[in-house]
Amino acid sequence: MTATEVPFAFSSSGLTLRGLLHRPDRPRDLGVLFLHGWSGNRLGPHRLFVHQARRLAAMGVFSLRFDFRGRGESEGETFSTSLEDMVTDTLCGLEAFQRETGLRRIVLVGICSGCKVAIGAAAQRPDLAGLALWSAEAMGPLRAPTQSVRKTLWALRAYARKLATLETWTKILTGRVQTRFVRKALMTDERPTLNEIRREAAWLDAFRSFQSPVLFVYGGNDPDTAAAARAYAAFCTRHGLMWEMHEIPEANHSFYSLRWSGEVMDRTERWIGLRVIRSDGESP
C-alpha cells in the first residue's frame, strides 16, 4: 500500500458506509468504484479488488472500495439489505467519490450480484464512463426459467463426484456430513419474486440506452456462464450497446486462482486503457 490509500466513509440513507480510497501519485481524470457481491466485502474474493485497485493506481486511476450497508465494517442490518439498497449505496458512493476527488469520469467494476447493482446504478447515472462486469448473473427477464434447475443439477453432479472419495464416505459413516447444508444446496429455490423481476426489468429497460463501453468477464467453469453470457450478448447486440465479452476457460465463479485473477485484472486494465482512456483522447 502507498501512503495514498486512506480510509473513506460516506453516508447512505443515514448509515455510515466504510471504504478505502486509492489515490494515485500521478492522477488521471478517471476513477473506479468497486461493487462487491451479495455476501462479500470491499476486498473482493481473495483480495481481488485490493490488487486491482493497486494496479489501477499505477495507471493513474483512482479507486474507491466500500462495504455495502450491512456488510463488512459498514452500518446497517445484515439480513434485511436488498439489491435496491445496494443501488442506493452505489449512487451515494459515486457522489461522495466525485465530491472528494473532483473526478468527472467513473467506471463501475462489479462482481456477481455487484454486476446487477452496477446495471441498476447505470440506469440512473447514464454519465458513467463504463461498466466492467465480472461473473454477471442474468437478471430480470434475461434470467432463464431453468436457472434454478440448472444450479440444482450442477450441485447434484458435484455431490455425485464427492461420493467417489474415501473422505466423503468416512464423513458419512462417522455422522459428520452436514445434511442441512446439502439439503440447502439442492433444495433452495433461488427464483426471484415478481417484484424483484419487475425492478430488475426496469433497470434493464433504462440500461438499453447506456452509451459507454461495457466489459463482461466470465469463468468457463461457472455453471451460470453459458446462459448468462448468451442472454447479455443478445441484449447488448439488440440494443446497440458498446460491449465486449471475455471468457477465462477454466475459471470458476470467483476466479479462485492466481492465474485466473491475473487474467481478470489484465483484461480489465486493457479494456480501461483502450475503451475508456483512449476513447477519451488520452494516452493509455
Partner: protein, 274 residues
C-alpha cells in the same frame, strides 16, 4: 456505537483497522480481535464486527485490524508469515493500550487468529488478562494439509478431477516453492512456520483467564480442544470450555447470524445476557 477507521504502522507497513468504542462512560476493558487467514477472514468479518459492537455496547473498546499482507493492509500475502503477524498483534495491542491505558486488556481470535492470539497471550510478559479462542487451530501442519485437501476437492468439483495432488503441493512447499491456494500465494516459510506449530505453546507460570469456544454442528465436543482446556486448568489457569451449535461460518459463502456464539461470548466477557 462510535466507530473509527484507523491506520498504524507495524514492521514498516501501514495496517488498516476499525476501532469500536462505547457511546459514553469509562472504557472498562480493551479487546484486540485477531482475524483468521485466507478467505476465512472474508467470511468471518461480519460476525467479528457484530461481536465488537456487542462489546462496545457494554463499555468495552475493540480493535479489529488486518495483518500486513492481508485484507486492506499494506503488502503482499506471500511476503509474510506467522512471526510477522504475531508482531502485528503486539503492535496493535500497544496501540490500543496507549489509547485506553486504564482498561483491562483482552484478546479474542478465530481459527488461526485464535492460535496467534493464544501465543501472544502466553508470552511471559502476560500482555492480556483475558483470552477468548473461537475454534482455535490446534495443529498448524494438520490445518494446512486439510486446507490443501480442500483445494484438491474443490478442483474435483470444478473440473471433475483434481488438477493437483496434495502430496505434490506439500513437496513443492517443502522444496521452497510457493503454492497457489485459492488465489493466495502460500509461501514455503509460512508452510514451515505452521509445521512447527504442532501443539499449543507452553503455559506461562500464571496463565490468563480464558474461554475456548468450539463451534461444531451439534455442539459435539472436540477432543483436541478438551485436551487444550485440561492442560490450561492443570497449569492453574481459569479456563472455560464451551461448545456451541453453529455452522463453520468462516468457510461458508453466505452470511450467518451466529447469535448463539455472540450471546455466549458476550455473557462470558461481560456477565450480561443482553
Amino acid at each position: 456505537m462510535p466507530e473509527t477507521s484507523v491506520v498504524f504502522e507495524s514492521g514498516g507497513r501501514r495496517l488498516v483497522g476499525l476501532l469500536q468504542t462505547p457511546f459514553e462512560g469509562a472504557v472498562r476493558e480493551r479487546w484486540l480481535f485477531a482475524y483468521p487467514l485466507f478467505e476465512e477472514r472474508k467470511s468471518s468479518q461480519r460476525v467479528l464486527v457484530t461481536m465488537g459492537r456487542a462489546l462496545a455496547a457494554s463499555g468495552r473498546a475493540v480493535l479489529l485490524f488486518d495483518y500486513r499482507g492481508c485484507g486492506d493492509s499494506e503488502g503482499d500475502f506471500e511476503a509474510f508469515s506467522l512471526p510477522h503477524w504475531q508482531a502485528d498483534l503486539q503492535t496493535a495491542a500497544d496501540w490500543l493500550a496507549a489509547r485506553f491505558p486504564h482498561a483491562r486488556p483482552g484478546i479474542l481470535g478465530l481459527r488461526l487468529g485464535a492460535t496467534l492470539a493464544w501465543r501472544e497471550a502466553a508470552r511471559p510478559e502476560k500482555p492480556f488478562d483475558r483470552v477468548v479462542l473461537w475454534s482455535p487451530v490446534v495443529n498448524g501442519q494438520a490445518y494446512l494439509v486439510a486446507e490443501l485437501r480442500r483445494k484438491v476437492m474443490k478442483e474435483m468439483l470444478t473440473f471433475g478431477a483434481g488438477q493437483s495432488r496434495r502430496d505434490d503441493l506439500v513437496r513443492k512447499l517443502q522444496a521452497g516453492e510457493s503454492v497457489d491456494f485459492d488465489g493466495y500465494a502460500v509461501s514455503s516459510s509460512l508452510f514451515h512456520d505452521l509445521a512447527e506449530w504442532d501443539s499449543t505453546p507452553p503455559f506461562p507460570s500464571v496463565p490468563p483467564e480464558g474461554a475456548i469456544i468450539g463451534l461444531t454442528p451439534q455442539a459435539r465436543p472436540d477432543p483436541a480442544l478438551v485436551r487444550w482446556a485440561e492442560a490450561w486448568q492443570q497449569a492453574e489457569g481459569r479456563c472455560t470450555l464451551q461448545f456451541v451449535a453453529e455452522p463453520p461460518f468462516w468457510s461458508l459463502i453466505g452470511l450467518v447470524p451466529c447469535t448463539a456464539l455472540i450471546r455466549t461470548t458476550r455473557f462470558w466477557i461481560t456477565g450480561e445476557t443482553g
